[in-house]
């Protein structure tokens, strides 16, 4: 089944979520370039890994459920994994930055 013949009730919210997720992620990554201190930059990618990834994964769940004709929720696993793991890396990096370049 192709992406073009998905019923409209799933296609419209999924398209909106995908556009939102894409914009949030690109703004988050843009922050890596536009902010001028590491301590400010560490906050930017969190946008992409929380709400950006969340939007995309909800859209993915919606679409694969519509395609399979039954609830397919295994994308929940990735969402949960990203939500639990990305703070761990951020915290370790924060500690590393404070240890390496104390201000």
């Amino acid at each position: 089944m192709n992406a073009a013949d998905i019923p409209l009730w799933a296609a419209l919210p999924a398209a909106a979520l995908l556009v939102c997720g894409g914009l949030l992620t690109v703004v988050g990554s843009l922050g890596l370039l536009r902010l001028n201190a590491f301590y400010a930059r560490i906050h930017a990618p969190t946008m992409g890994s929380t709400l950006g990834a969340g939007c995309v994964l909800i859209a993915s769940m919606l679409l694969s459920s519509a395609m399979a004709g039954r609830p397919v929720i295994h994308e929940l696993l990735i969402t949960l994994f990203i939500l639990i793991t990305s703070p761990v890396t951020a915290m370790l990096l924060m500690r590393a930055a404070m240890y390496r370049a104390p201000d």
């Binding site: 843009l30 902010l35 906050h43 703070p87 951020a90």
Partner: protein, 162 residues
């Protein structure tokens, strides 16, 4: 004295993970999942002798709703800061927050919640004085951050874990 919860949390969670991963609920997968869940629980019990017994799960529902709302709100705030960064760079800063919570699981959850919300990162915890150091992207009002963390996150976590 803490009392045991009615359902064993970790094996049930692992079983749910296994069924999600295989995307099926056939009897064979359920049996295999139960076996794996019990084996992993037994193996992990030696690594981590301090079990977490979360209670009052209705408080957790409210906390999760609060956190989701805060994630959406601070995403928009951080996005606005990044897009306006050519005019004005944000004022970064550290905030020290004295905590009342001592439970390690509660503190771990607090760390994940704070760091998972854009705009704030957990930057350290002094175990002796129980003081949390928080790094904030756009620091305007220190007292507001102390109030937010203590009332919005710490109180429900203390209800759940202590």
């Amino acid at each position: 004295m803490k009392r045991r919860p009615l359902i064993p949390v970790l094996p049930v969670f692992l079983l749910a993970m296994w069924l999600l991963l295989n995307d099926s609920a056939s009897p064979g997968h359920i049996v295999l999942g139960i076996v794996f869940a019990l084996l992993i629980t037994a193996a992990v019990a030696r690594l981590r002798p301090l079990p977490a017994w979360p209670r009052r799960l209705h408080v957790a529902v409210g906390l999760i709703a609060h956190v989701l709302v805060d994630i959406v709100r601070s995403n928009l705030a951080v996005g606005r800061i990044i897009l306006g960064a050519s005019r004005r760079q944000p004022t970064i800063g550290f905030v020290k927050i004295p905590l009342d919570m001592r439970d390690p699981h509660g503190l771990a959850m607090l760390a994940v919640i704070i760091t998972g919300t854009p705009g704030t990162v957990w930057a350290g915890h002094d175990a002796e004085n129980n003081v949390l150091t928080l790094h904030v992207l756009d620091l305007k009002d220190e007292a507001a951050w102390v109030r937010t963390v203590k009332q919005r996150y710490e109180r429900p976590l203390m209800d759940i874990f202590e």
